[in-house]
């Protein structure tokens, strides 16, 4: 009998499905249940199906990670709009943080950050965020 991929809770369980348990046609679903108006629902409230990549991780691709410093942020949203991986969490026009599960560490957010000093900087993956914040550079004087 084919299993309803929407019902499977554990991603690991999907990986073990036998041929007889697959849905015909290899169709995949975005959500566990009908979502009438996706554009109205923020990601954290969506009933993602386990087959939605939102439920998976690529954070381990990173060598360096962006660290966010609220102190300097002006909520310009450049990091949000140019992030290729939907990893800048922005709600109600405010920058909240980085989704490390989905961030591949490309560094675009840092490059496009216009503040001085920048509100996002790349740090080694293994470094603790608090430690990174503690060593944040000072404002650069215009030369």
């Amino acid at each position: 009998m084919a299993k309803d991929l929407k019902e499977i809770k554990d991603i690991e369980e999907i990986k073990e499905l036998g041929w007889d348990e697959l849905l015909p046609g290899a169709a995949l679903f975005s959500f566990r249940e009908p979502v009438e108006d996706v554009a109205e629902i923020p990601m954290e409230e969506r009933p993602y199906a386990p087959t939605n990549s939102h439920e998976w991780q690529v954070g381990d691709w990173r060598v360096e990670k962006p660290v966010y410093n609220r102190d300097y942020c002006i909520d310009c949203q450049f990091c949000w709009v140019f992030c290729p991986d939907m990893s800048i969490l922005s709600r109600d026009k405010k920058m909240i943080g980085v989704v490390y599960e989905h961030c591949k560490g490309c560094g675009i957010c840092v490059e496009v950050c216009p503040t001085n000093p920048k509100s996002l900087l790349m740090f080694p993956e293994h470094m603790d965020n608090q430690e990174a914040l503690a060593m944040w550079p000072k404002k650069e004087e215009k030369k």
């Binding site: 041929w19 015909p24 290899a26 169709a27 995949l28 679903f29 009908p34 009438e36 996706v38």
Partner: protein, 405 residues
Amino acid sequence: MAKKYELNEVEVWDGNMAAAHALRQADIDIVAAYPITPSTPIVQNYSKFLADGYVDGEFIMVESEHSAMSGCVAASAAGVRAATATSSQGFALMVEVLYQASGMRLPIVLTVVNRALAAPLNVNGDHSDMYLGRDAGWINLCSYNPQEAYDLTLMAFRIGEDLNVRLPVMVHQDGFICSHTAQNVRPLQDEEAREFVGEFKPVNSMLDVANPVTHGVQTEEDWHFEHKARQHNDLMNSMKTINEVFAEFKDRTGREYTPVYTYKMDDADVAIFALGTTVESARIAADQMRQKGIKAGVVSLRVLRPFPFKEVQEVLSNVKAVATLDRSAPGGTFGMLFNEISAALLAGGKKPVVLNYIYGLGGRDTTINMLKEVYEDLDKCAKAGEAVVPLQQFLGLRGPKLSFY
């Protein structure tokens, strides 16, 4: 709502007109097509039905057969009924997308008017296109005359769209010999046909915005095999549904279809195994042989895929010699029927003499006399208990006799 098309109890339709009416009655939402001889009239007739208000939906005349089948795949994934028609080179251009259709499990109906493949270019009937697509994962139904082209096209929708099947279906008919030959056809009236085919049942429709679905995924080696296994399993098991639909159709019309077609096989010593219009011509040859005291029969596949392995074994269990007639250039081996029939027989522990005849390429006329020659060969082999003629022969060929093995 489409107008009712007034139909006589008996119409004189060629195979193309018969298929076009079946498509019309199936109330297709999207026909995406590109015309090619000899299937062109199906597409033309259908557009005329649409122009005269006899069918709803949309006819999209695309810019190639590749796009025709792509359009059908997209429409079917969108959750609507889709169908098209093609032949030969057009079929060849579609092949890439045929695999997409079956892999995505989309119940598209494709009426194939069989024609030779170039080179040399030839617009006439042979089974090269049918053979090209036989492993594409589609259900393949074969007709021998316009009535059957009509019946099987209607049934194709029921079979492919069945929730236990959800596979695309091809309906084959011989180019010109069937497609352009007008014969008596007893159609169903529109309402009866519509009732038989039924409403399209969307599965994972892309148009349902509340349930977003991803169609046409990529699989790596960790998944591809399982999906193809699932697809094969469901295609193999579709025979159950095919038989159910055949049975229901018989109840409605009295016309009986079976996965393996037989004529006078109960006591046959020798048999011709062929596809398409030749099956009917072979009946005449068989009758004439029987007048000479040779117990001749005819066998064919109504369902080429899934291959009715057991039924083939059964029907041939008592014959002494069988000739497989392949209407497609075999390209370096025996014809497909020879290979598949021999395999079925061997697996069933039977060893009648099996001969292979390549015939009718590019529309070459297949006469009753030629078929009688085949029976003569078979009779010789049956009496000798072994092959006393070459295993592969070319039938009706000019020049020195061409044979192998």
